[in-house]
Amino acid sequence: MNLKPETITEIESLIPKYPQKRSAMLPILHAVQKDQGYISKEAMEWVAEKTETRPIDVYGVVSFYPFFREHPIGKHYIRLCRTLSCALSGSYNLLEAIKREFGCDLNKTSDDGLFTLEFAECLASCGSGPVMMIDDDLYERLTEEKIKQIAADYRARAAQSKA
């Protein structure tokens, strides 16, 4: 595991903010996952040392919270909200379009490694559904047209950064 120096600096500055080291667990795991894309066994051991806990404590946390993952995923993380308000505005009907446009199945990564698709539970944007998140960005009032456009934009950007 090779964390970037700025990640280590960030983590070192997080810990003293809290009255107890273990409280920095979630923010440290966020920083590690942002740096590495996932949280490896090795990383868990390292986090255990930093938080003065046992690796099993870190594993317990990682395995509990849906956002933390133990394996790498695609470059972009797509989460389509499937909860009631979004479903009432048609989210389940959009699933096929999303699978097609991004080229990946539910809970799978696209062959080009660009996208991983999952369902999310209510994203607290129920008045503008259907919604999905891609990485940190929220996309609202989704339609097939919009999905096509968004996928095309991501692919264009990916091609650009490759060139």
Binding site: H30, V61, T83, L88, Y92, C122, A124, S125, C126
Partner: protein, 449 residues
């Protein structure tokens, strides 16, 4: 979103004004932090008194009076006191705290620092759900701006009182919205809720120290309580249901959105048909979820008769129920997080329940057998019913599972997952029985599971 004339905006007063930005300069220009200064000129216990007088009730779900909660703080132990803002906003249907956090983060920071001073907190936290990454950044920036002006941090405004504010991000687990689960999460653990008693946060909260957990909207109200005085503020709304409330309206309405309304001064009918623009043409109200997906469902066309707490009799149709805390309770449900989900007759009601059940099965923390197993069974059965294998005994089976969960668990997630099933079966039993008669037939326009 522009304001509807039936709205009365206090918390979201500026949020949607053109040119209103989330930075401190804009907030100061609109009178921001004047109430912090006012509060710091008062004694902490005087601020607590004003909050108590205001009667302001918690906006996170349970509707417990904030002033009373603060009074329960164990001050004799001599342990440090903590303040936590619950910004987990994850009850399905709810999207009001998102507006405050993204459009007016300084209002929350001001409300928190006033509250922290009032209860003499040693340290304060905002626990924000992972799915609001920009919100977390905006709050972090707001905190830095406020620190630079000495509105938080060391020796605030020369008062001798110091308090830091930490933004703590969750990791996509709904149960972190439950206050004791949230506390465990800040302690760096799995968000396993704690049993009450003895773990009432006001006595044994974060690090086993006295802790106050309040919702985002509740803490923002504190700013306006200080501005107007508790007594005057309590005049807004109706007795026992003071202030304004932000309702999140979603589902089958023409104008879904967030609407801030004086408590008790409008009805569910006003919200859906007038403010919300009504249903789609030709559609009828099939069901109404009055306060987040865990609140008990109401069937379109139901009538409610009974007596209010003060003895006044009522006779309401669904549309007549006042938008406040007590009225949804009087008709056997609750206002919960203020999330109103409108369901018209285009969808299959069994699929609606299957969708809700999938949520609660996913979110049970797994500590208590009735909740962990029961939520999964309710999901499995309702999903099976929607996949062409509904059986005549399913309705009774579902009801009996629900009955075996509620009241038998560590936290209120047990009720939250049981109430939808119990109430859907109670109100729509005919539809659940019909489902078994018409296996394989599509009964709604769009799939919900």
């Amino acid at each position: 979103m522009t304001m509807h004339q039936k709205e009365h905006r206090v918390i979201l007063k500026h949020a949607d004004e053109p040119g209103y930005t989330p930075d401190i300069e804009c907030y100061l220009k609109h009178g921001g932090y004047a109430n912090l200064k006012k509060a710091f000129a008062m004694k902490p216990e005087e601020v607590c008194k004003e909050v108590e007088l205001s009667g302001i009730r918690g906006r996170g779900g349970a509707g417990f009076p904030a002033g009373m909660k603060w009074k329960f703080l164990d001050r004799k132990s001599g342990k440090p006191i903590y303040l936590i803002c619950n910004a987990d906003e994850s009850e399905p249907g709810t999207f009001k705290d998102r507006q405050i956090i993204h459009k007016d983060p300084h209002q929350l920071v001001e409300g928190m620092m006033i509250s922290a001073y009032a209860i003499q907190a040693k340290l304060a936290f905002i626990y924000i759900r992972e799915e609001m990454p920009y919100g977390a950044k905006l709050l972090q920036k707001a905190i830095e701006e406020a620190r630079a002006k000495n509105f938080l941090g060391d020796n605030i405004l020369g008062s001798g009182y110091s308090c830091e504010l930490i933004v703590h991000r969750g990791a996509a687990a709904y149960i972190c919205g439950e206050e004791t689960g949230l506390i465990e999460s800040i302690e760096g653990k799995r968000a396993y809720p704690r049993i009450k008693p003895p773990y009432f946060p006001a006595a044994l909260g974060l690090y086993q120290c006295p802790t106050i957990v309040n919702n985002v909207e509740t803490l923002c109200h504190v700013v306006h309580v200080v501005e107007n005085g508790g007594e005057a503020y309590s005049k807004l709304g109706t007795p026992g249901n003071s202030g304004t409330r932000i309702w999140s309206l979603s589902g089958h309405v023409q104008n879904p959105g967030y609407y801030e309304i004086e408590c008790g001064k409008a009805t569910y009918g006003d919200l859906i048909y007038d403010i919300g623009g009504g249903l789609r043409p030709g559609r009828k109200l099939q069901a109404l979820i009055p306060g987040g997906s865990s609140s008990k469902v109401i069937r379109g066309g139901e009538r409610f008769q009974g007596k209010l707490r003060d003895g006044t009799p009522f006779d309401w149709g669904v549309e007549d129920i006042p938008l406040d805390f007590d009225s949804p309770m009087a008709v056997g449900s609750m206002s919960g997080s203020g999330a109103v989900v409108v369901i018209d007759d285009s969808v299959d009601i069994v699929e609606v329940l299957a969708n809700i059940n999938a949520f609660y099965a996913h979110e049970s923390c797994g500590q208590c057998t009735p909740c962990r197993e029961g939520s999964l069974w309710m999901k499995k059965i309702t999903t099976r019913m929607c996949k062409g294998d509904a059986r005549p005994g399913d309705a009774d089976l579902l009801a009996s599972i629900g009955d075996q969960i509620a009241g038998r668990t560590i936290c209120a997630h047990g009720e939250a997952c049981a109430w939808p099933t119990q109430s859907f079966i109670a109100k729509f039993k005919d539809k659940f029985l019909e489902k078994a008669q018409r296996n394989g037939e599509r009964m709604g326009d769009i799939p919900l599971i």
